[in-house]
């Protein structure tokens, strides 16, 4: 994503969580999205909302996201935190816990966040074996050493769905969830209801 500075878009995040206060123009719901161990497919599926994104933007403000060019230094306080992917390393756990502290409602978006899914396939094996396979034996890898720079976050022995790290309020399964499922869940939440997903509007695959 290009980082051309645009002055008018610099927006200061709200210092406190915005409560839906009665005002002539209702305050937009503040949203942060996060991409942990996942393929970004769930964010792509979110973008598949297509023209509905325009409607959504009237009600929602995305303050922090891998798909939005935000100019914030620190993670903002938001109403809703949407997380794609599971927790694989120390850095992801730190970020996830920080978001949990700063959001009121947390959505686990997609199978990786909900069940662990593909990143959790390694859970059947010892971490060391996985690293050796990936960095020393992989046919495509020419570097042949396991990264050990202290800057690189440390992998946990097992990948965990985010529900095992923090409290999750809403889970939207799917690999990825359909845009329609995401739209249904978001509109239900905006209407003040907890989304009730069933066989008609969700899938696991």
């Amino acid at each position: 994503m290009s980082k051309t500075p645009v002055k008018k878009s610099t927006k200061k995040p709200a210092a406190k969580p915005a409560v839906a206060a009665a005002a002539p123009a209702p305050a937009k719901v503040k949203v942060a999205t996060m991409w942990l161990s996942g393929c970004s497919g769930c964010h792509m599926s979110f973008l598949d909302l297509d023209e509905r994104l325009v409607d959504l933007s009237k009600l929602v403000e995305i303050l922090f996201s891998p798909i939005v060019d935000t100019k914030v230094k620190d993670m903002p306080y938001v109403d809703v935190g949407i997380v794609e992917g599971c927790v694989n390393n120390t850095d992801q756990e730190h970020e996830l816990k920080m978001l949990r502290e700063r959001c009121k409602l947390m959505i686990a978006l997609g199978d990786c966040a909900v069940t662990g899914n593909v990143p959790a396939l390694r859970n059947q094996f010892a971490l060391k074996d996985c690293l050796i396979r990936a960095y020393e034996q992989a046919e495509s890898n020419k570097i042949c050493c396991i990264p050990n720079d202290p800057v690189v976050p440390k992998l946990y022995p097992k990948a965990r769905p985010i529900g095992e790290v923090v409290k999750v309020d809403v889970s939207i399964p799917g690999c990825p969830p359909d845009a329609d499922t995401i739209w249904f869940a978001l509109t239900e939440l905006l209407a003040g209801r907890m989304p009730q997903l069933n066989e008609k509007n969700m899938r696991y695959d």
């Binding site: 686990a108 199978d111 909900v114 069940t115 662990g116 899914n117 593909v118 959790a120 396939l121 859970n123 059947q124 094996f125 097992k158 769905p161 529900g163 095992e164 999750v168 809403v170 889970s171 939207i172 399964p173 690999c175 009730q196 997903l197 069933n198 066989e199 969700m202 899938r203 696991y204 695959d205």
Partner: protein, 598 residues
């Protein structure tokens, strides 16, 4: 039989009627009340293991599984209370957490999986328990299917199917508690199993992706396939098939549960060998191995046929063509020349005078003693073997095997005599063991027509005199009896038959035989006669040594492209329906014969 007493009970406020002795689940389903299940399967012993079918009975504090609880007159049953729904959800969450149920990586992911369906139906989004991510083994050593324990929910449908339908009990449950798992034999693999018959019934009955067909991997979900009912033409039993097709391909073949012959069960031949084996199909006519048009090929065939006198022309038919093709041959008999169907060893006399044993597959399970003479059902007629095994193992029938090589039925037999002699002491012993059985069944194979076979049959018939035994004759070849009825002579020794008169023009209808008719060449005399014949026309679906040796090859339609009927050993006329469009330029057997000889 006395009609069972009727009982009435209330399920979810609806008045439901059923028979005394039926379970709550059966009565509920018969009356249109849906109760979710995973381990329950009609025709299998209820297991009560998945705990999704739990119900509350008013007046009782306990929650009971409806699949194993007999219904009681006047009871009030609730199936959808909040407590039950919340318990079902918890059960499903535990099932999801126990193994590695990753839907995106499973070929049964869109509509074929019972666990996924129940999870979605119960609105399970995330689960409250930590996932265990156990390292489970995957067994892909079987030829046609695999077992991925990561997806298993331990419903034991496969174990019960293997035990109660195929009757071999290869699969069972081993280990305790969280380590509980399905094992093959004594914790072996399918590949090295000596008991597994590869019938694939466990795969068809598995509610998850644990047991999966290899050949249909990612050809499409069965739920999205077209289903066509047809009949298997691989042996004389004539099992009903349910063929799943998508995008002009066979995705899977299951047994037709409504067929009175096999009741949904199949053997490896019908289940897999017709479509899951790699074979080279012939889809254009070939002249001396080079592709040609039908016009050129037929012109070449006609020319050769016209130059030969009628007595010098011969037609050999595989005993697997439809009754309609047989009628076509009978109609054209005057123009063809010598006609014969090539049958297996000792089969000619066996099918020449067909005696259909009506409803044998329905009556056989009621037998209290089964006597096999000169046949190998477990090799040739898998579903008959399965019926015999389950009748012996589950219904207590006694099994006697005479004049048959060692098969996997031997372990259940009381008397095994591969080469019975004339010792009176032995036969007195057999007579003593057969005494007292009121519903004996005699299952005869082709070898009963040998001198030894006739002697054994005569002795057994004498012993069973007055007890009206069920006589069942099961040929190996699919439609040989019907061909014999149409006047096509069954011949075993093809070489000698060909040598009777000089042959200038030989037309072989191998049709869709899996070996492409190559079986004929195993006999050196036939191979020599083929070389002598001026023109050899082979009508076959698959490439083989025989089609390589042919002057002209005419491409024939296969089992799932034919239209017609076959007559099974019971005398049932069973429909063979076209499942797919005929591939390439192939044509149906009857059509080809008409264009060659008419």
């Amino acid at each position: 039989m006395i009609a069972p007493k009727k009982i009435t009970l209330t399920i979810d406020g609806k008045l439901c009627e059923g028979d005394a002795g039926q379970t709550i689940l059966e009565i509920a389903r018969n009356n249109g009340v849906a109760i979710p299940t995973l381990c329950y399967m009609k025709h299998l012993t209820p297991w009560g293991g998945c705990r999704l079918c739990i119900v509350e009975i008013e007046g009782s504090p306990k929650i009971v599984p409806s699949c194993t609880t007999p219904a009681m007159e006047g009871s009030k049953v609730n199936t959808k209370t909040d407590r039950l729904v919340s318990l079902r959800k918890a059960t499903l969450e535990l099932l999801f957490s126990e193994r590695n149920h990753f839907c995106p990586m499973c070929q049964l992911n869109k509509g074929d999986c019972g666990l996924q369906h129940q999870g979605l139906a119960h609105g399970i989004t995330g689960i409250r328990y930590p996932y265990l991510y156990p390292a489970m083994p995957i067994d892909v050593t079987a030829k046609y299917f695999g077992m991925d324990q990561n997806r298993c929910i331990l419903c034991t449908r496969c174990v019960r199917t293997c035990d109660e339908q195929e009757g071999v009990h290869t699969l069972d449950v081993a280990k305790r508690g969280i380590k509980n798992q399905i094992v093959v034999d004594m914790n072996g693999t399918f590949g090295e199993s000596t008991t597994c018959t590869q019938c694939g019934a466990c795969v068809a009955n598995c509610p998850t992706g644990t047991l999966f067909d290899k050949a249909n991997a990612f050809r499409g979900q069965l739920a999205s396939c077209q289903q066509v009912l047809t009949t298997c033409t691989e042996c004389s039993v004539g099992c009903g098939l349910k063929v799943f097709t998508k995008e002009s391909r066979v995705v899977s073949v299951w047994g037709d549960p409504d067929s009175p012959v096999n009741k949904g069960h199949l053997c490896v031949k019908g289940r897999y060998q017709t479509w899951a084996d790699p074979r080279e199909r012939i889809i254009t006519p070939l002249i001396k191995g080079k592709p040609a048009t039908w016009k050129e090929a037929l012109a070449a065939v006609r020319k050769a046929s016209d130059t030969a006198k009628k007595a010098e022309r011969a037609l050999l038919v595989a005993p697997r063509v439809t009754n309609e093709t047989a009628q076509t041959i009978a109609k054209l008999a005057g123009k063809i020349g010598r006609i014969a169907s090539y049958v297996g060893s000792n089969e000619a006399a066996f099918v020449a005078k067909p005696e259909h044993s009506a409803n044998a597959m329905v009556k056989l399970p009621d037998a209290d003693a089964i006597i096999i003479i000169g046949g190998q059902p477990s090799r040739d007629n898998g579903v008959v073997a399965a019926t015999i095994r389950t009748t012996v193992r589950k219904r207590g029938a006694k099994l006697f095997i005479f004049l048959a090589p060692k098969t996997n039925l031997d372990q259940y037999a009381d008397v095994i005599a591969p080469t019975p002699g004339q010792e009176e002491s032995f036969w007195n012993d057999v007579a003593a063991k057969l005494a007292g059985f009121q519903r004996p069944a005699v299952v005869c194979g082709p070898d009963v027509t040998t001198a030894d076979g006739k002697a054994v049959l005569a002795r057994i018939a004498k012993m069973l005199h007055g007890r009206s035994p069920l006589m069942v004759g099961v040929p190996v070849s699919a439609n040989a009896m019907s061909l014999a009825c149409s006047g096509i002579v069954p011949v075993e020794n093809v070489g000698a038959w060909l040598a009777e008169k000089p042959v200038k023009f030989l037309h072989i209808v191998a049709s869709d035989a899996p070996d492409g008719g190559a079986r004929l060449l195993e006999d050196a005399a036939v191979a020599a006669q083929l070389k002598k014949a001026g023109c050899v026309v082979v009508q076959a679906s698959y490439k083989s040594a025989l089609t390589d040796a042919a002057t002209v090859v005419l491409p024939a339609a296969i089992w799932c492209e034919k239209t017609g009927t076959i007559t099974n050993f019971e005398g049932r006329q069973l429909p063979v329906r076209p499942v797919l469009a005929v591939a390439g330029e192939a044509r149906e057997d009857g059509t080809i014969l008409e264009s060659v000889f008419a």
